[in-house]
């Protein structure tokens, strides 16, 4: 087996209460690397077409990459995969912290769970041994309580746990598992999928060692990255202030959306409000720094809110997306409200992006008289009202009153209540993340047409356009080659187990160098392009087999500048997302009407035999 991998995959069927261990096939590892690459391949093979996302046939996978848990910097991630109850299609979301590395130390590259337990259970994985254990006593507990209870009852202080909170138990479509108390594969309703299986948690503990083919080379790359970080103030800001180091600026330069995507930060929100939610302001509550496994930046921090409306004995620094979705998106500059909402979401197991964005939708409906105060249980949900934001977040978490509807997201609420659809800011039904395509237009293609819609950690040219020197970024001709290459690159980075903030390391081919040094398999940038396209095709094929075609993938019009903003840094920007998509599909050799990849492209990429069989009968 290649180095870096444990070589074992765990399959659990909760209906049968059975556990099977299989060897990781080396070709599978070479072709699909890890993470959602391996996940897409296995779910495509094992999940029946048309499976109910909240039924026993859905398969939930927790998958590491070969670099996860090694000494390679930024290698802390695991990926959650399943069919999404939000979009009805493919879903993946990844998370840092320590769960992924611990899973490998416990002996497994991945865990796939199917079926449904008769009553609440959790999985206990310890040094290669697996038990399905009763979790009735944990049901109803929040994610932090669950972690603490399991550590205590198992007498394992270093136990790592990924768990759902009450939101997942109640099948909220915005729910997600939480690991390490505050890290989350947040998007796409993974918490509800766990809840639908009566799976409360996975607890892992291991003492195994993860091998590397060339540890000296890994050390050499690490040193280069550490040196680069030292001379880069932007990277250092991530280390000292976290991802929120950019929050204040993002609200003003057009990066983060404002007022449910209709506002202009520099005008509607303002510098003073932005600075109040900037990381420097929030860090008055900092107790100490927190870093994911083997990260040279350490963008996290532990907080204590000593006084005020919502004192918190122990909480965490909100991440950029959270500060934006509960901040500028709601015209909210009350930092304590953001901290409290972050804590509620972490404890109940809610995606902060979708929760904040759903509240933004409700706020706009309220401001326009579409939702009445009594429909919101008497909450005065005016723009920027911190008290109201916390109150409605708690209702969503408890699924009480209006929260029982809002807990399933803005698109669900608009449908159930039969109004407000025109104010949804979603891609294929999931709330958009906090980087605005009007600043990085390629994000529009990524958000709308990636097989996992509405994600800022999916590849493409958008983020580079938003943060790089692309003077001609609003020219939509010939974007295909670069868009495909950037997407493929991100596919490999994600699947190897790396964090996107690897970009701060300043080594352009770091993932290729690390992959080769960790696994022992030569890995060139040409290989990245081919492997990334293979993985992308696999996720895409999952959706095609479910009956999706390109026209089923949608994005709300504000995000693409229709109509354009009339002031500020994004004034008059209107994105030709149709052209961006055509360029991308054409360069991927996908039919623009049906989405079907050409036979030749699939054969050339290799490793996609099932897809060829299903699409071409060969």
């Amino acid at each position: 087996m290649l180095a870096g991998y444990t070589g074992k995959i765990l399959f659990v069927n909760l209906t049968e209460m059975s556990v099977t261990v299989q060897d990781l096939d080396e070709d599978l590892a070479r072709n699909f690397i890890g993470g959602y690459g391996i996940g897409a391949k296995i779910l495509y093979e094992m999940m029946p077409v048309g499976a109910d996302p909240l039924g026993p046939e859905n398969i939930l996978g927790f998958i590491t990459g070969p670099c996860t848990g090694t000494r390679a910097f930024f290698g802390a991630r695991y990926t959650l995969v399943h069919k999404s109850p939000v979009t009805g299609g493919w879903n993946d979301a990844n998370s840092g912290g320590y769960f992924g590395p611990e899973l490998k130390k416990a002996g497994f590259d991945a865990v796939f769970i199917s079926g449904k337990a008769e009553k609440p259970v959790y999985l206990l994985i310890m040094d290669g041994k697996v038990q399905i254990k009763e979790a009735t006593h944990l049901w109803g507990k929040d994610t932090k309580e669950t972690w603490e209870l399991l550590k205590t009852e198992l007498n394992l202080p270093k136990l790592r746990v990924v768990a759902i909170g009450p939101a997942g138990e109640k099948l909220s479509l915005m729910s997600c598992p939480i690991n390490d108390g505050h890290r989350a594969p947040g998007r796409g309703g993974g918490g509800a999928v766990m809840g639908s299986k009566n799976l409360k948690a996975i607890a892992v503990y291991g003492t195994g060692k993860i091998t590397m083919a060339d540890p000296e080379k890994v050390t050499e790359i690490n040193k280069q990255i550490a040196a680069n970080i030292k001379k880069n103030p932007g990277a250092q800001a991530f280390g000292t202030l976290g991802t929120g180091s950019g929050t204040a600026v993002s609200a003003l330069n057009g990066d983060s959306p404002v007022k449910n995507w209709a506002g202009v930060g520099i005008i509607d929100y303002g510098e003073e409000a932005a600075e109040k939610l900037g990381a420097a302001s929030l860090d008055v509550h900092k107790v100490k720094k927190y870093a994911c496994f083997n990260c040279p930046l350490g963008c996290g921090a532990e907080y204590k809110v000593k006084s005020g409306r919502w004192p918190l004995e122990a909480t965490e620094r909100p991440e950029y997306e959270t500060s934006c979705s509960f901040g500028a998106l709601l015209l909210n500059s009350e930092a304590d409200a953001v901290l409290m909402c972050n804590e509620i979401c972490n404890r109940y197991g809610l995606d902060t992006i979708s929760t904040g964005a759903t509240i933004a939708w409700a706020m706009e409906c309220y401001s326009k008289g579409i939702l009445a105060r009594e429909e919101l249980d008497g909450i005065d949900l005016t723009w920027g009202n911190g008290e109201a934001i916390v109150a409605i977040t708690q209702k969503i978490a408890d699924q009480e009153g209006c929260g029982a509807v809002l807990a399933h997201g803005s698109a669900y609420a608009a449908k159930v209540w039969g109004k407000g659809e025109e104010f949804l800011q979603t891609a294929s039904g999931i709330e958009l993340p906090m980087h605005d395509p009007r600043l990085g237009p390629g994000l529009a293609r990524t958000y709308q047409y990636d097989p996992t819609p509405g994600r800022h950690v999916k590849g493409g040219i958008g983020l580079a356009q938003a943060f790089g020197a692309f003077p001609d970024k609003y020219n939509y001709s010939n974007t295909g080659p670069m868009d495909v290459a950037a997407t493929a690159s991100q596919e490999v980075e994600n699947c190897a187990g790396f964090c996107t903030f690897m970009m701060n390391g300043g080594v352009m081919d770091a993932k290729e160098q690390y992959l080769a040094a960790v696994t022992g398999m030569p890995f060139s940038q040409e290989e990245t392009l081919k492997t990334g396209k293979r993985i992308l095709n696999m996720r895409h094929a999952f959706n095609l087999r479910e009956g999706f075609k390109p026209s089923d993938f949608t994005i709300s019009l504000r995000a693409v500048g229709k109509p354009p903003l009339t002031a500020g840094p994004l004034k008059d920007v209107e994105i030709d997302v149709e052209q961006l998509a055509e360029n991308f599909f054409t360069h991927m050799d996908w039919d623009t009407e049906t989405g079907k990849p050409s036979l030749e492209s699939l054969q050339e990429l290799g490793g996609l035999e099932e897809v060829i069989r299903d699409l071409y009968g060969k």
Partner: protein, 82 residues
């Protein structure tokens, strides 16, 4: 002419401290303003400044944008969040 300067966030790390106004000759552009306020050091990586966002009186501007007496220039670096 006097130009008001407002660097936000991490941009402050690249620019001279306690800047409020800068005197520039008539006809100066944003690039001239930058040249006069950047901290230069042997080991400084100034690449982030290449992709800074500029607003003049809250309107989008470029390095080549000309300045007028009394203009307020906001300088922001584009930093990717989480």
């Amino acid at each position: 002419m006097l130009i008001k300067v407002k660097p936000l966030g991490v941009a402050k790390a690249y620019l001279k401290k306690d800047l409020e106004t800068v005197e520039l000759p008539e006809g100066a552009k944003i690039k001239d303003l930058l040249d006069s306020i950047i901290i230069t050091a042997d080991n400084a990586d100034l690449s982030l400044l290449d992709v800074a966002t500029f607003l003049v009186n809250k309107e989008p501007a470029q390095r080549e944008t000309g300045l007028q007496d009394g203009d307020e220039v906001i300088i922001m670096l584009r930093l990717v969040g989480g």
